[in-house]
Amino acid sequence: MESKGRFGIHGGQYIPETLMNAINELEEAYDHYKNDPEFNRELTQLLNEYAGRPSLLYFAEKMTKDLGGAKIYLKREDLNHTGSHKINNVLGQALLAKKMGKTRLIAETGAGQHGVATATAAALLDMECVVFMGREDTIRQALNVYRMRLLGADVIPVVTGTATLKDAVSEAMREWSSRIDNTHYCLGSVMGPHPFPTIVRDFQAVISRESRAQILEKEGRLPDAVIACVGGGSNAIGSFYHYIQDESVKLIGCEAAGRGIDTFETAATVNTGRIGIFHGMKSYFCQDEYGQIAPVYSISAGLDYPGVGPEHANLHDMGRAEYVPVTDEEAVNAFEYLSRVEGIIPAIESAHAVAYAMKLAPTMDKDKIIIITISGRGDKDCAAIARYRGEDIYE
């Protein structure tokens, strides 16, 4: 039997036998509904009428002038309902789960954005919801914990391992294997076993489908570079997808370097990891010489993950996309910069993409175009950034 869901050598389905029939059932249901006009009509209506799509492609004129190089556009996923791109995938998966007769959604969350989006969809579609979140992250992102509970979800703090995103994923997988009959695992990124990397990518591809049409309308041509932050990589793959065939468009993923890629306190998987098998997929992972998964670090709870989605691993192998490290300090500077210059407070995750654009734009001619995906809004990060700057603020 052939292994499914490969991107080059990456991907696959490395999961316990207990989950295999559930995964196969999900794949069959998705293959059916993705071409079902009624499903697509319902999903489009939810995205447009509830989540507020299409999101704006905003010309950041002041930032462009200030940096003195390429024209900068921001794809404003921060303006979506719930404040990030996560809702695109969640509405798709929740609707699919409902069609499959599931009554309960479980999810992992790092920064809380995916957890909030899942809790929101569950409230809207009358489903039960349980969110697993590393205990460390429940402290870093206390406001999002409250938001999820307000929306009717149970939030379970995960205390195993490093008590961050990877442990939340492990715990959600364990929970799924004990409640397969009524539960859908609403995975938040383009990772895990097939078909998740494909399903999540398809639901997030709306980002580049829109931005491509928008930039053609505004500029009459394609951008020269598309920049997005990468943890598992869902907003990045969504931002890249409809440009992959256009070789003239540089695709740049910004990884969380934490305190630097020459330190152990980093989460820059492509830059510091090597190939491994974990959380259902073959891809790049931060790990020691014996394959023990490394306790990664980033100021951003949403990028604090030791792996990367298999499609990104393959884009890297093919040289089609470039993955660059961005440190905590650079991201915090960009967080403050975009707030001050454009009046837009980006999520600390998205600030990693802004930081790299700040370095790249001045090196490019003024007739070049960059699109940066602002994957989420930064309200959730204000207290943590203030503390990083030495202010004594708690939510």
Binding site: G12, Q13, P16, E17, T18, A22, T160, I277, G291, I293
Partner: protein, 258 residues
Amino acid sequence: MSKIKNAFADGKAFIPFITCGDPDLETTAEVVRAAAENGADLIELGIPFSDPTAEGPVIQGANIRALTGGITTDKIFDFVKELRKDVKIPMVFMTYANVVFSYGTERFMAKCHETEMDGIIIPDLPFEEKGEFADAAKKYGIDLISLIAPTSDKRIAMIAREAEGFIYLVSSLGVTGVRSEINTDLGNITKIIRENTDIPCAIGFGISTPEQAKAMAAVSDGAIVGSAIIRLLEKYGKSAAPYVGEYVRSMKQAVMNL
């Protein structure tokens, strides 16, 4: 032909699971010998992994204790080589795909052969992905043990037909750990397994008492126990060996004359 079939020659088999290096390798050696002397037919040796997604809290704890103590795959191979001087019953490794892959699959299987290990159980390696390790395992004569779950349904026959060594039948949904009841219709699953293969089938997950072991072995060829043994290690630490020995004896007695 592997030695694994010998484990099922003396009545129904009792198969204990022990995490290497919990709390240290000296203790693991004592515990393995105590289990072997008290009737264990086959021993599963766990190579710890940082993120064991198929394990409940008890075995997760053992993994953390072992890794914190500085255990590595190389230390475990050295340890097994030493152990093999006197422990002759069949033994298999239980570990996660990344531990094997990152060591180098070929190099890992060659080491298994050199240390006279008989097989390997990889819980995050379903039927569809076994090609990842199958060629190297075959080359070095290491049985790649297949798992079958309560949810396997139409997959049972397909898995059973290609199974090697023995089949690990998972008793219940969820992760490893002690359960008060096991409700799966295991008799029906073992019936389909037997229609498709002659290799033995042992049941694990959730078994802790002699009564449970007896009930499980009655519908299969043996019982596998992990968490209940790890609990003894948790409780008695470095002096756990005699307690594990006594426990193994009571469990083997419960299953042997079925």
